[in-house]
Amino acid sequence: MILSALILIPLIGALLIGVWPTAVDSNQVRRGALITLAVNLVVTIVLITQFDISNPDFQFIEQLNWIEALGLTYSLGVDGISLPLVVINSLLCFVSVYISNEVKRPRLYYPMLLLIASAVAGAFLAQNLLLFFLFYELELIPLYLLIAIWGGARRGYAATKFLIYTAFSGALILAAFLGLALLSETGSFDYNPSLVQGLTMFQQTLLMGFLLIGFGIKIPLVPFHTWLPDAHVEASTPISVLLAGVLLKLGTYGVLRFCVGLFPEAWMKIAPLLAWWAVVSVLYGSLAAIAQTDMKKMVAYSSVGHMGYILLAASAANPLSILGTVLQMVSHGLISALMFLLVGVVYKKTGTRDLNVLRGLMAPERGLPFIGSLMVLGAMASAGIPGMMGFISEFIVFRGSFESHAPQTLLCMVGSGLTAVYFLLMINRVFFGRLTAAPDDVGGTIEVTLPKVSWRDRVPALLLVLIIFAFGLQPEWMTRWVESTTTSFVPGAMRAATLVSQPSISQSSISQFQTTQSTKPLQQVATKQHNEPKAETISSESTPLAFAPLL
């Protein structure tokens, strides 16, 4: 029931706020939403404490037949890949309600946020393809409204564009799911890697292609990315935080779970191409970020770049790189949420995000020194400076992908360098120098006194920075939840494909390398390698069987 609670608690909260019989003011509504999400967060923590880290399979499985004729069952489960995403969702939804303040029409706004929390949790937990699709689509409605009602000047345009793109994405995904059910002649939509067994390679590739483009729009990958900067620019800060931190992860999660998970052979076949696609996405996103003059657009394009790493790691599809995808999802979720939070504070205090206007915000007393310092930390984390989570995730992504896709990995690493370029450009323009403004319509520069920054503006960002540092310094706190799932996630067929693609290194040394990595947490690799390599090899043979309960 604990998984259903994660979906139901925000849903009930949303309903209560929406239909509460007496008049309530904005603050009371906000408090109600906060309490709801606090309960949700507590439930999430309970889930973490009860999660069995040694079990690579789905846990806390719940199953209810819903509409049997359609093959729609209400089945939920959580494994090492979805757990961190569920946690991030609970955390960032709480943060985004916390930073929402003085919104108009609170009784619509907060229920919408809660609905997102519910739908996203549902999507991450769903064990049935149709159920996933339902949640995936359900989350579009509140997000569309949140942008279209509470957004900036061009909110109508941005919201509609977002809706068209993501609805198209949903249609492709639905088509793929339907195709899978039809072609596999089971009529079942339950998540089951054996569904594809009867399919020809062409059918598999076609279905996977549909899914890939569908999720690629959501991630977003170049050239399907254009909705994202627009949506970010027009969305208010809390929505941007959610969009970057959580909602984009639906795309990468979908790629991982449904493309890699359901179509491993087809995936491996086109993996090198996908890695090149990742390169295009990373480099295009990063270069586009350099050219931006709007801070929010810059962060949005940096998202495009950084989500490309996930595709790169997924295309390598070895235990280490799959671990990298999950870490990168979490790390990007936290870091981009942090950046959007901070840009939001800058915008709130200065009324602009224009890099040509803002100057010297680091000024003590009159500027935003604390926010500026956090922004420097965020930029460092994003650029992968050691000691912060960005380093760990990018390092594992690159380390995991290098062996199978060396040129693509090297080119993606250029993207890491470019991250430093655009964020330093931004920080240099916005935070350094003398505090002035250079508005377009007034000649020269003028004196500025920025309003006070309250602790309410600082605390959420500070919290995220602390988490980023904690996982950066002690990645084991993160990897231990994920590793047993990610190591067994790569089916044997795929592993064989990986091996074949590396003729230059002897097969036995690779299998030994992979087995040691795949079965034990990272830190144990070195010691185990010396002590008992044979025993490890045996256990690795059995890892594909970890999928047995699903078959």
Partner: protein, 384 residues
């Protein structure tokens, strides 16, 4: 750009120096006469008076009691060394006497006036040699030092003379500012003009006050600046002080960095424009920026009416040092104006056309020097 608090602000209007000259001749003041300005100026001068008092006492203490002490560890303690005072000193929540020394060194470096001329004269050598010898007799290190580097100790004594000179100057100024504050609180000061006149009267009253300096070594007094030299308050300390601290100053580190090779700093010292009237109040707050120290010191002595005024600003008490800096700049324009008025060759309301022209020329000369100052900015500072 979207709706913003920034676009609502406008750049400061540009005034021509002719307007200021006209204003001064017709009895107006450089700083606009508004109730806020009056509060700011008097309030900040009160805080400044308290701090100057401490600076003046300490500068004279160092000059008189730390004479040629090469390692003056306790020079800021005014002779009273207690564990509490040491802790307070190290904790840095104290009067930053370092600022007084910065000012002293700046003044010494720019020089000017009778004090500077005297310290380079034969008379000074004649006065300081016996004192140095008396000190060296008791101290073999000093003795050896003096033999090896005969120019070194006299240069130290020159600096000590500046310690003393600045201390005496600030003694007077501190008293003027404290009196001003008292008069204001009694309701006798009602306009910026009254402030300027009060300061002017104070300067004039003490104009001829002698500046002297003597130290006692082993019970024997040694004159370093004997009264016979005839140094006096106004021409030999006040005017050089205004020149070197209000106008020239030194470029200090902040968020703006200077490139001396690209001649962003004038080669001619007289062209310097980094003084109190030119300084940017904003790049303070970093370590090692002298004005920050002064604002930090004044922060403890801001009168209630000024604190209330500051609290109504956008940042409230957060940026009190910047606000103090801005108020301080305003008050220094008043002090400058008092000096300018005091030195005016003829009465401002003279009927003689010739005198009027000379007055005009005199004021034009001053205003030309203030072109680059922040005089235009303080005309419209109401947003803080």
């Amino acid at each position: 750009m979207t709706t913003t608090s920034i676009t609502q602000l406008q750049p400061a209007p540009v005034y021509s120096s002719a307007e200021y000259v006209e204003r001064l001749i017709s009895g107006g003041t450089l700083l606009p006469n508004t109730p806020e300005n009056l509060k700011e100026v008097v309030g900040v001068l009160k805080a400044y008076g308290v701090v100057l008092d401490a600076y003046a006492i300490n500068l004279q203490y160092i000059a008189n009691h730390q004479f040629l002490n090469l390692i003056p560890i306790f020079k800021y303690f005014d002779g009273e060394i207690t564990p509490e005072k040491v802790i307070k000193h190290l904790w840095h929540n104290r009067i930053n006497y370092e600022y007084a020394e910065y000012v002293m060194r700046t003044m010494m470096w720019h020089g000017g006036g009778g004090l500077d001329a005297y310290l380079d004269s034969e008379d000074f050598w004649a006065c300081c040699a016996p004192a140095i010898q008396a000190k060296a007799r008791r101290n073999p290190i000093l003795f050896a030092f003096n033999k090896l580097f005969p120019e070194y100790l006299p240069e130290q004594v020159r600096q000590l003379a500046y310690y003393s000179g600045l201390g005496q100057f600030w003694r007077v100024m501190s008293d003027i500012f404290m009196d001003l504050s008292e008069q204001y609180e009694q309701g006798n000061i009602k306009s910026i003009n009254a402030v300027v006149e009060f300061v002017k009267a104070g300067l004039v009253a003490d104009a001829a006050r002698p500046i002297t300096y003597s130290v006692t070594i082993g019970g024997t007094p040694y004159d370093i600046i004997p009264p016979s030299i005839g140094l006096t308050f106004l021409p030999d300390t006040a005017v050089p002080y205004v020149e070197s601290i209000f106008f020239r100053g030194t470029p200090f580190f902040g968020t703006v960095s200077y490139n001396a090779q690209a001649q962003q700093i004038p080669i001619d010292q007289a062209q310097f424009g980094y003084g109190a009237l030119f300084a940017d109040p904003l790049p303070i707050g970093g370590a090692g920026i002298p004005p920050t120290l002064l604002m930090q010191d004044m922060r403890h002595y801001v009168p209630d009416y000024l604190t209330e005024l500051y609290e109504t600003s956008v940042r409230g008490q957060d940026d009190v040092r910047v606000q103090l800096s801005q108020s301080f700049q305003k008050s220094m324009f008043c002090v400058t104006e008092a000096a300018v008025r005091g030195l005016m060759p003829y009465p401002a309301d003279t009927a003689d056309p010739k005198e009027r022209v000379l007055n005009q020329d005199y004021l034009n000369g001053w205003m030309k020097r203030l072109t680059e100052s922040r005089l235009d900015v303080v005309q419209s500072h109401s947003d803080n």
